[in-house]
Amino acid sequence: MNILENTFDKSENVKKRSIKGFVLFYIVIILFFLLIGPWTFSSDWVSSSDFHSCIEIIGSFIALIAGVACLMYFFGLNSRFFLITGLGFFISGSEDLIHGILAFQRLFSGMSVDFSRFIPGTYVAGRMTLAVMIIAAPLLEYGMKKAKRMKREAIIFSSIAIVTGGGLTALAFTIRLPQFIYPNQLISRPVDFISAMLFLVAFPLIWKRYTVKRDTFSGMLLASILFNLGGQVYMSFSKQLFDVFFDLAHYANVFSYITPVFGISLQGLEEMRRSNKELVKRKQVEKELQDVNEQLETRVQNRTSELKDANQKLENEIDEHRQAEEFIRFAYEELEKTNNELKQMQSQLVQNEKLACIGQLAAGVAHEMNTPVGFVASNFQTLESYLKKMQDLLTMYDELIGKIESLGKTELLNKANAIHKSRYTMKIDFILEDIHELFNDSREGLERITGIIQNLKDFSRIDQPGSLDEYDINSGIETTLIMAMNEIKYDANVKKELSEVPIILCNAGQINQVFLNILLNAAQAIKSQERDSRGTITIRTYATDDEVVCEISDDGPGIAPDMLSKVFDPFFTTKPAGKGTGLGLSVSYDIIVNKHNGKLLVNSTVGEGAKFTIKLPISRKEEPNNKQEIISNGKKNSIICG
């Protein structure tokens, strides 16, 4: 089956003009026979050798056409089946031609040779050859591979067919078939019956092919076989020449040739239609394919452009991300930088706060210094003029002494009077009196300058961070007060209530800074009130069991409760911009609480003043923030506090 299908590629596609067509065809043929039958029996002319020959010759031509057509098909379709069947038709057609010509009695009437003994033999040979070929064709088609070398095959099979046909003809000639005619028997011509049997064998083979291929040619071939079968059966019943069976057999013979021609023509038509349809279909399919292709291309293009867009988007996004990343990194670096700068600035600010504190003092100190310097310098200049006057007077005395002998008494007296007068005008007596005061004032002024410088020196101990000193809180307050007094004295009196406290070990400069800060704040607070009476700043020191306490209170305006919690915050200030750093108390807090493990407290009632309490521990067992070496000292009373 598979081979068959493979061999005959048109297989399934040949759709099967449905058996309806064939049935219709057979009905027409049967009707034809029904019509022609009575006419045949009643006509003498028909039952003659001339008519018989005409039919045979016509049939043979048709057979030759069928054969040629089949051969063409063989070359066209490359199917061996067509070659063999075609050869079958070709040879049987040729036999029939010979048969028809031999049977044409008029042609040979004048001749002495009697060909009549060849007549039945050639007929049977043609039938048999056809039958054999039709049997061989499907078998060879199934049994052998598809034809490759068609010309060679055509020649080989043609040769075989010609040899077979020729052989059979020769046999027919030789054995003189009429000898085997037994008019008394039912089957009067057994040779014809044998050929009928051969067709009977051929029928199922072709039927099978037909059922597989469902092609028109196979169907028509089946019809042809049936005609042959029927014709040969009739023939085998023929008792004598030109009887009914004989005639019918010959008609059937002609039809058996016509049907394959029909078949092959129809199949050709079908093939053409089919190929045409296929062509159209293919074109359509091609077009569809092209359309699909185009669509695909457009889709691909669209998709590609979409992809490109998406890609572009992605790239953009990636770029954006990268930029954002860079920006973030940049921002981070900036932040880090800013942070570092801030840290640096903070430490600088703390340092600056110290300087600002001193700076604030500096103006006061400058004033304090300038006052004694002022009058000392002024006195010095005055002293110069005093000396000049004295020198002038002395010169006058010298002159008088020089002339004392040469001049007369009256003249001398006049001179002396003049000198005395100048002494009066030059206020010499005042000078002599004043000169002591001048020196006293100047000396005092110089002492004051020296004192201020000494204080500055004491106070400048601030700039020794980390070192620990023996520190008497009371002397620290005194030192700081000398400095701060320049600021305080114009607005407030300082009341000191200092009691004996133990010496502690701490950074004196830092603690002084805290005192100064608080004292200056107090002075400024009082000054800010611009009141008529002077304010009072009270400093109290005392010691508890484990702490040295210093309270600095003022009777200034006080601190509002909502501000109270903020006073130790960095940069918190109530002073106008540029006046205070806002770090003073924050730094103080740091010094007392963090660096010395002490306490810095603030109490205030608005309108009554503020009180700052500094508590420093007398002994500190643990020093989390201050790990400097404690300087041992020889004093018995000193209590180490770190």
Binding site: G364, S378, T382, D441
Partner: protein, 180 residues
Amino acid sequence: MEKRTVLFVDDEEKILRSLKRGLTDEPYNSLFAKSGKEALEILKREEVHVIVTDMRMPEMSGLELLRIVKKEYPHIIRLILSGYTDIDTLLAAINQGEIFRFITKPWKIDEELKTTIQQAIEFYYLHSEREMLMGFVEQLIEGTKPEKINVEFIQVLISIRKRRLYEWSKKCGLVPLNSQ
């Protein structure tokens, strides 16, 4: 020509004493006050033409004093002699006190202090002269005859001017035309 009066105010007595002895030979009266309050009392009693004050003083600062002086004795020429020289103080002194000069401590008597005080007195002269002349001109414009006292004043004024001119030409090395 009547003598002019200069009032010095400073909380530091030694400053006042040094000023006193430095300025003994000057041709004007010098008065001294130890505080703003005292200065105001003196101003009530005496006629003062120039006031020289320190800035930082207890109770009443120099600036406050000058403010009062400016308000109550606007004709007095105001000077500051101070060692307190931060910019805010200077600005306040110039803008609020409308001072004539600011002398810093320590000072130089001859080159600085004396000349400055003399300039201030001169300024006072010019000021009062101008005011009197303006008054005179006003009277002329109003058509009222100048009174006798004014005629005398003009004569005095002319004599002063002549003397000034003489002094000036002497300074410049010229022979005075009309020496007195």
